[in-house]
């Protein structure tokens, strides 16, 4: 073998080989990492709510049995939902409240779709207890809405916090009227 022939083209060929090897190594490693990430996704997603849980994420409620002035409790996503068929007097009083005095200012109109139907998530916004007021025999607090026995939060006839430690008004769930007498919550 001639000496000069060895150094020139062979060196270049080796460098060429080395860079091709690096590219392949990087390509393989990159594919491996991508594959690993794709493989991890089903594990994480398997912890998301399953189809049967999601199927119960909506509840249809027939409002006909709830007479004027009556309240109904239904279960939705594991929590109680308060349905209040409000009388015109109660509605007027709720609308008349000056919202600037409220801890969580909200007009009554903003909290209902039809004013005679007040739909609330019955979970106190303080630490999660179920406020009293659904049964006729329950205390309702001095604002006529709901009273939470755990730490004394009091809500008005629009479900707004008026007294006690709760920071926010009772939540309004997502709902829509399927017709005049049926709602779909969730």
């Amino acid at each position: 073998m001639v000496d000069t022939a060895r150094n020139g083209p062979t060196m270049a060929h080796e460098e060429d080989q080395a860079s091709r090897r690096d590219f392949l190594v990087i390509a393989a490693a990159a594919m491996g990492v991508v594959g690993g990430a794709i493989a991890v996704w089903p594990l994480i997603d398997s912890m998301s709510p399953a189809a049967d849980t999601l199927a119960l994420s909506q509840t249809d409620v027939d409002l006909t049995p709830v007479a004027l002035g009556q309240r109904l409790t239904v279960k939705w996503r594991g929590n109680p939902v308060f349905i209040d068929h409000r009388t015109p007097d109660v509605i007027k009083a709720a609308e008349a409240v000056d919202i600037s005095v409220l801890r969580d200012p909200e007009t009554d109109e903003a909290r209902v779709q039809k004013p005679e139907w007040l739909i609330l998530v019955g979970v106190c916004t303080h630490l999660g207890c179920t406020p009293l007021g659904q049964r006729p025999s329950d205390p309702r607090g001095e604002f006529g809405g709901w009273y939470c026995p755990c730490h004394g939060s009091e809500y008005d006839t629009s479900g707004r916090i008026r007294k006690g430690p709760a920071p926010l008004n009772l939540a309004i769930p997502e709902y829509k009227f399927l017709n005049n007498t049926k709602i779909r919550i969730g």
Binding site: V2, G32, L43, S46, M47, S48, A50, A51
Partner: protein, 423 residues
Amino acid sequence: MAVPSAHMPPAQNKLVRWIDHRLPIFTFMQHELNDYPTPRNLSYWWNFGSLAGIALVIMIITGVFLAMDYTPHVDLAFDSVERIMRDVPYGWLLRYIHMNGASFFFVVTYIHIFRGLYYGSYKEPRELLWMLGVVILLLMMATAFMGYVLPWGQMSFWGAKVITNLFSAIPGVGKDVVMWLWGGFSVDNPTLNRFFSLHYLLPFILVGVVMLHLIALHQHGSNNPLGIDRKGSQDSIPFHPYYTIKDAFGVGVFLTIFACFVFFAPNFLGDPQNYVPADPVRTPPEIVPEWYFLPYYAILRSIPYKLPGVIAMVSSLLVLFILPWLDTSRVRSAHFRPIFKWVFWGLVIDVLALGWAGAHKPEGTALLIGQLATAYYFLHFLVLLPLIGWMERPLPLPTSIAAAVTAKQSARAQGAAAPMEKP
């Protein structure tokens, strides 16, 4: 020829040095991967240990996530598995991976074991390495047995009933032992619940034993196809990058075949009867364990009496423990053992025959073959191995691994060489 080393210079990175000074994981990895000398002539038969490790990891990960949705109660278990299959996002994938993963874990482990049998990897100084391996096999079998009970199908229940009933063969205390295992008067809810607990536990004990297995391995390093010891640095190459990349390729092949089963034939290795909810009152027409238990099942049923049958089945595994002392040959690898080589393949055929027999009712031809194969199995280990070791004249061993490898390379080059051009 000196092999370019992948030796890393001492870490420049300050963070790495800070951690390593307090917990030497980087030094440890450097030692075990980069510096660790591995024979340069390992064949693809040496991939199966790492594949078994990968299979174990896959089983644990999928198992943990399945356990988030599984309910270990006789009234709810079957339906909870179906909920996983239908309602849990990717639940079907987790379940099929776990189900087929068990089979693949056994495939790679059995090949790994037979590799050890062929190349004498159980011989001095690797006796404990081998025995730890047998412990791993036993833990795998216990875990797989209990895992199969969990879906609470017909085979789950009846398989559990048959196998737990075996313990009643123990003289005197047998019946009490069985009631203790069951937690009641038959296989029922207490049994299922405790099997779930133990099925979750055993794999982690298995991981511990695998670590001991690896520590034992690293004491003297891997065996090799020639069965001769490494004599110097010319006989070995660093584990990284040579065997890391080779193992990675092996994992690729394994995952590809595994994916074909999981996605396109997920129930091929299973029994349709297990899609029928367990019925303690109705015995299925044939009670058959999963394929990886068939050889032991054949041994059990080849003897028509209960206690001897159980003893034979247990002995078939115990005999593996004493293998290093049964094989009297001073030569490790079957490459150089002309008689043993044939006898080894005889064992392979024997085990396949046992598997076939185990899948059929123990009557007629199947029973006869099962009995002959059982007899041959024990003959192999207890009679043939000691005898062959004494009687056989092994082929001459190469002087070193490097010498053998170089000889092979020059033989290949001579065969392929084009005439050199003269300037």
